[in-house]
Amino acid sequence: MAISREQVLHIARLARIELDEDEVEHYREDLSSILDYVDKLDELDVTDVEPTTHAVALESRLRDDEVEQRLDHDEVLHNAPESEAGQFRVPKVVED
């Protein structure tokens, strides 16, 4: 299924990826040809088929409600691109 330039821009916006004009066309072509290919699944009738989200049956994993120390404050902030006063620093969120 061919997708449009507008659809590519919409997906990019949802995925928080900024594209220039060349990239929009590049991904439009790639995604169109991949979607064309995956449309082959339409050949199959899956009306009564249950979906598989995990191939191996999962059990609910419960544990005692006890606090565990995993990473300390400094470890959490160690890889932060920018931090201040023990917190992550990001561009302003609230408008003036």
Binding site: I11, I34, L41, V49, P51, T52, P81, P91
Partner: protein, 476 residues
């Protein structure tokens, strides 16, 4: 034979006989890494003095008669999407080029507890997305059998490091064939265990319902030894299976007498384009299994032709969700932006490479309003049909044998312009991940040009032992 070219069992024998030390082995591996730097198998190599000191400590413990782990003094490497505390863990992405993991993956802890000496982190396709190792921010790893060719991906660096004797064994991760396909292209053994057998804690997530960590080694016995160390329940991974860890090495000498081996007709059909030499080598190996006492049974996996499409819908959907965490706020690459959203967009646009962005966008699309049922929902239903194919086949046979990849290693750049053609490289490996089964690739010869070819063995869930027994016969 130089120490770095030995198998784990040969090396441990040499240590125990006093013919070699762990320090000698580590030194030989570090020399080989330096001499083979052009292959670009490693993203980071640990400081020589630190590695040698660790090996020396193992030697001293051995001399003092201390109880040693199963891998005491064995130099190993791990794919750089596995966290190692305090060291660089990049996933071959600009996004994580400066990231230092605050904890180690469970598998890394288990290797270290068993006495293995970690020498470095191996190259991969960015976030394990690729079939050629050409998508690495740090440049491609090269095939040691022909450096003009790819080693396969995404665990290309681990496969190269083992094949080029730059470590004795390595860990990789396999989401759609990322251990088995490079193992095939580089002429080493690669095992993708049953989903849930090995903890994914500390593995940088790509597609969580498919990813599984496994070994790349120079022998089937070595793979069994590594599996004995890395398998087992881990409470830190919610998908970890509560299963006992068998003595996998005992299965290695079992032979194939009396086993029924399924040969899937779809994997040899002309439409899937198996290279003539690959087909002939795999057929010869299968015939040899028959000569060793196995019974061959033709089986059908009728939904094979839908596996690649199913995989790319599920894997990209899960990837788009998993990779949403890279926003430049808490860790990873950050680009400047006027406001928070612009910072997110700039960070992700500049931090991710082309293939990763393509997959995130495909995944975002198939999960978006109006398309979920058409693509993602349907793919989950076809996944059920693919699982049922295997259930039906394993009602009749003990294991399945097939080619690992349709062609030998291809030339660098050959498929990088055509994502779909690259995706089809995994046509024989992908179904195994969708069904959660164990699979292995074991070398079964080389083409006239000297390029290795792998035979793939697939087994029912949690029956790695049968798979290893078959692989050992192929290897012999």
């Amino acid at each position: 034979m130089s120490l770095n070219a030995k198998t784990i069992s040969e090396l441990i024998e040499a240590f125990e006989a006093g013919e070699a030390t762990a320090e000698d082995a580590a030194g030989a591996v570090l020399d080989a890494i330096e001499a083979g730097e052009n292959l670009n198998a490693f993203i980071s190599v640990r400081e020589r003095d630190a590695v040698l000191a660790e090996a020396r400590a193992v030697d001293e413990a051995r001399q003092n008669g201390a109880e040693l782990g199963a891998l005491a003094g064995v130099p190993v490497a791990v794919k750089d999407n596995l966290c190692v505390k305090g060291g660089q863990t990049t996933a071959a992405s600009r996004m994580l080029a400066e990231f230092e993991a605050p904890y180690s993956a469970t598998v890394v802890e288990r290797l270290q507890d068993a006495g293995a000496i970690l020498v470095g982190k191996t190259n991969l396709d960015e976030f394990a997305m690729g079939s050629s190792n050409e998508n690495s921010f740090f440049g491609p790893a090269l095939n040691p059998h022909d450096p003009e060719r790819v080693p396969g991906g995404s665990s290309g660096g681990s496969a190269v490091a083992v094949a080029a004797n730059q470590c004795v064994a390595a860990l990789g991760s396999d989401t759609g064939g990322s251990i088995r396909q490079p193992a095939s292209h580089c002429g080493v053994v690669g095992v993708k265990p049953t989903y849930g057998r090995v903890s994914r804690y500390g593995l940088i997530a790509f597609a969580s319902s498919l990813d599984q960590v496994g070994p790349l080694t120079r022998s089937v016995d070595d793979a069994a030894r590594l599996l004995e160390v890395i398998c087992g329940f881990d409470p830190r991974d919610a998908t970890s299976a509560r299963r006992d860890v068998p003595k996998f090495t005992d299965a290695v000498g079992r032979g194939v007498e009396g086993l029924k081996l399924g040969v899937p007709k779809e994997y040899f059909a002309s439409e899937v384009g198996v290279d003539d030499e690959v087909g002939a080598l795999v057929r010869a190996a299968i015939d040899d299994l028959e000569a060793q006492g196995a019974e061959l049974v033709e089986v059908s996996l009728p939904h094979t032709e839908y596996a690649v499409a199913t995989y790319y819908l599920i894997a990209t959907a899960e990837a788009s969700s998993n990779l949403a965490r890279y926003d430049g706020a808490r860790y990873g690459f950050r680009a400047e932006g006027e406001d928070l959203v612009e910072m997110y967009e700039n960070s992700r646009s500049e931090g991710f490479g082309d293939e990763v962005k393509r997959r995130i966008m495909l995944g975002t699309y198939v999960l978006s309003a109006g398309y979920y049922d058409q693509y993602y929902g349907k793919a989950q239903q076809v996944r059920t049909l693919i699982r049922q194919d295997f259930d039906d086949a394993f009602d009749k046979v003990d294991a399945i044998v097939a080619p690992t990849a349709p062609t030998p290693a291809f030339a660098l750049g050959d498929k990088s312009e055509n994502p779909l053609q690259m995706y089809l490289e995994d046509i024989f490996t992908i179904s195994c991940n969708l069904a959660g089964l164990p699979g292995m690739s074991v070398p079964c010869g080389a083409t006239a040009a000297g390029l290795p070819v792998g035979l793939q063995v697939l087994a029912p869930a949690f029956d790695e032992e049968t798979m290893l027994a078959i692989g050992a016969v192929v290897e012999a």
